[in-house]
């Protein structure tokens, strides 16, 4: 039973991480209908920027954290301006391939600079965060993950619900021509959504880095793990991303714990294929109705 609870806790934490990384993905999809194949690399960029600022330049952690967020925010603008702006109105396939290209390029760049080894952040989480409750032990990193995750979800919920930019984003996602005709600056919304997606990605990258150390290969692999999560939840639903993340995290941990460790890597994708066959638009995804 202890084992079960430990797996449950691990699965939930892993699921929260997936949900966190899926959020940025959903953000881009929601406001520009772009499937971002570079998401894992965005995570890695944020994580490495934080590494440089916090561990190499030895800035105070809070400062390093905010500098990272500001940095990736502007990087998001730059990437959107340089690479995605020319493609507005182009075929979907070209946009997807573009994100693929961006991802590969960034990964190459990161590998150049940091190599393929695992880097570690300095220990900075207070031990007091860890929870011991009977037999269940939750290390402080996981607690931090929970806190950051929940904080983020609340911020984004409020942002989309009440801020004017958030409302613009929803309107663009809902119906782009209508939003344009009502005077929404669609290009600005796109740029902003990429910038915010970069921020969310950086956050999850940092959290992942605290957890297992940061490594270019692992972080970009997380970008691919996000697909089962968002498909399960529905590509354009934030709530779906969270629920999907938790479900996939649990499935993965329990498979790893009870069946076999090697199956663990592939089980999300098997689940993915099954979902696609049974419920293609996921739990909360918007179903496109077609009539011929």
């Amino acid at each position: 039973m202890d084992f079960f609870f430990q797996l449950l806790v691990n699965g939930l934490s892993l699921g929260f991480l997936y949900a966190l990384s899926a959020l940025g993905f959903v953000m881009i999809f929601k406001s520009s209908s772009v499937l971002n194949l570079a998401h894992g690399e965005l995570l890695a960029i944020g994580a490495f920027l934080f590494l440089v600022l916090a561990a190499w330049l030895k800035l105070p952690l809070i400062l390093a954290f905010f500098l990272t967020l500001v940095g990736v925010f502007f990087l998001g603008f730059v990437v959107e301006r340089l690479f995605l702006r020319p493609l507005i109105g182009e075929n979907l396939i070209e946009v997807i391939m573009m994100t693929l290209g961006i991802g590969i390029m960034f990964r190459g760049l990161l590998l150049f600079i940091f190599g393929g080894d695992i880097h570690d952040y300095p220990d900075f989480l207070p031990e007091g965060l860890s929870i011991e409750w009977g037999v269940i032990k939750i290390p402080s990193v996981y607690v931090a993950t929970f806190i950051i995750g929940i904080l983020f979800l609340i911020i984004f919920g409020l942002f989309f619900k009440y801020s004017s930019q958030g409302i613009y984003m929803r309107s663009v996602a809902d119906n782009q021509p209508a939003a344009l005709s009502l005077g929404v600056h669609v290009r600005r919304v796109f740029a902003l959504s990429w910038a915010i997606a970069f921020i969310v990605a950086a956050m999850s990258g940092i959290v992942l880095g605290i957890l297992n150390g940061i490594n270019v290969h692992e972080l970009s692999a997380i970008g691919l793990k996000v697909f089962p999560v968002v498909i399960l939840g529905g590509l354009d639903s934030i709530g779906g991303a969270i629920l999907g993340g938790v479900i996939i995290g649990l499935i993965e941990t329990f498979t790893g714990g009870y069946i076999s460790t090697s199956l663990r890597e592939v089980v999300p994708y098997i689940v993915l294929v099954i979902i696609l066959m049974v419920k293609p638009y996921g739990l909360f995804g918007l179903v496109e109705i077609e009539r011929v």
């Binding site: 690479f83 391939m97 961006i102 390029m105 990964r107 190459g108 089962p228 498909i231 077609e290 011929v292």
Partner: protein, 356 residues
């Protein structure tokens, strides 16, 4: 005798058949013959073994790229699992040859058919899914197949892989690069011919209709699902054939090469070459294979030069960076790929001295 046609100045087409013709001028036909003669009678006898090896790789990748272009460029179904299908072809050929004792000539088509079947299975989600979702489904296919390669040890030999022997055609040993060259390029020519003609038939036109607007295609009475599956099967058939050739050529296969990166390389090939263009797929394969070779020589050179020797540059990051950059630059500046450049060059020669 029919009148020879050279440079048509203007559009004098009078029937749909003329519209569908492959060679607009007899000049083009002549150049194709020259090309074939060069390919089979000159190149293999003047090139160095290393160049032959590069050419063989190009030929094998071209076959797979043509298959992927039929799927992505003509039918509009994005697939991120082509590298795994290539692997399925390689593994089935190796297993059929080693365990069932199939001769080379039977193992190739059998492996291709098996791959076509696997491709069909992973194309099934296309009944209900479109672009984005389908892309993700094929991505899942890639990972599941990779897992199978590594973990079905009794068949695939796990991470150790399989060794393939006895490449022979009717008792004639094909073990050397130069002999294998003829096999690769005979198949390459045949498969290109098939692909070029396939897209002129009703099947090909149905593919293009589905790519352009699948709802309209359905409204016109095209059974969209059937044709999508067919497209998946044909594309995987090409991948399987290329994979089987690869297995025989490399003599030993491990799960290593058939990863997501290979799928991305294939996609890069057809984007750089030109989506929806058969010559484009070949151009793309030439470009990517050449780029790979140049980069590996470059890194080798950099590692031996005094200044950068300490930096220990490895090929992987450089290759990834250049690949990503090349994909991005092509999409922004020449979305139709090298095939479009080729067309412009050709037509400016043809129309000279006028610019239109």
């Amino acid at each position: 005798m029919r009148k020879l046609r050279f440079h048509p100045c203007g559009n004098f087409k009078e029937s749909y058949l003329q519209e569908l013709t492959i060679f607009e001028t007899d000049f083009g036909r002549l150049w194709m013959l020259v090309g074939l003669v060069l390919l089979f009678c000159v190149i293999p006898f003047v090139c160095s073994p290393y160049l032959i090896y590069v050419l063989n790789t190009i030929g094998i990748y071209s076959i797979a790229a043509i298959g992927l272009n039929l799927l992505i460029g003509y039918t509009g179904q994005i697939s991120l699992g082509h590298g795994a299908f290539f692997g399925v072809g390689a593994y089935s050929a190796a297993i059929l040859a080693n365990k069932a004792g199939f001769p080379f000539i039977l193992a190739l088509p059998a492996a291709s058919l098996i791959t076509a079947g696997v491709g069909l299975v992973f194309g099934l989600p296309s009944s209900r899914l479109k672009h984005l979702y389908l892309l993700i489904a094929t991505l899942a296919g890639q990972f599941i197949l990779e897992y199978v390669f590594v973990h079905w040890e009794s068949m695939t030999g796990g991470a150790m892989g399989i060794v393939v022997f006895n490449v022979g055609l009717f008792g004639f040993d094909l073990g050397t690069d130069r002999r294998f060259y003829f096999v690769v390029f005979a198949l390459f020519t045949f498969m290109t011919w098939v692909a070029v003609n396939l897209i002129r038939t009703r099947y090909g036109r149905a593919f293009i209709a589905i790519r352009d607007n699948d709802r309209a295609a359905e409204g016109m009475g095209i059974p969209v699902f059937g044709y999508k599956l067919l497209s998946f099967a044909i594309s995987s058939f090409y991948a399987g054939l290329a994979g089987a050739l690869f297995a025989y050529y490399m003599m030993s296969i491990t799960p290593e090469p058939f990863n997501l990166w290979l799928s991305i390389e294939f996609i890069a090939m057809i984007i750089i070459g030109g989506l929806g263009s058969i010559p484009g797929s070949v151009f793309g394969a030439v470009f990517i294979v050449t780029l790979n070779e140049v980069l590996s020589h470059l890194t080798e050179y950099l590692m031996n030069v005094g200044v950068s020797a300490g930096a220990a540059i490895t090929i992987a990051p450089l290759r990834e960076f250049v690949f990503g950059l090349v994909i991005i630059l092509f999409i922004i500046f020449e979305p139709k790929g090298i095939a479009e450049v080729w067309r412009i060059v050709r037509s400016s020669f043809r129309l000279w001295p006028f610019s239109y």
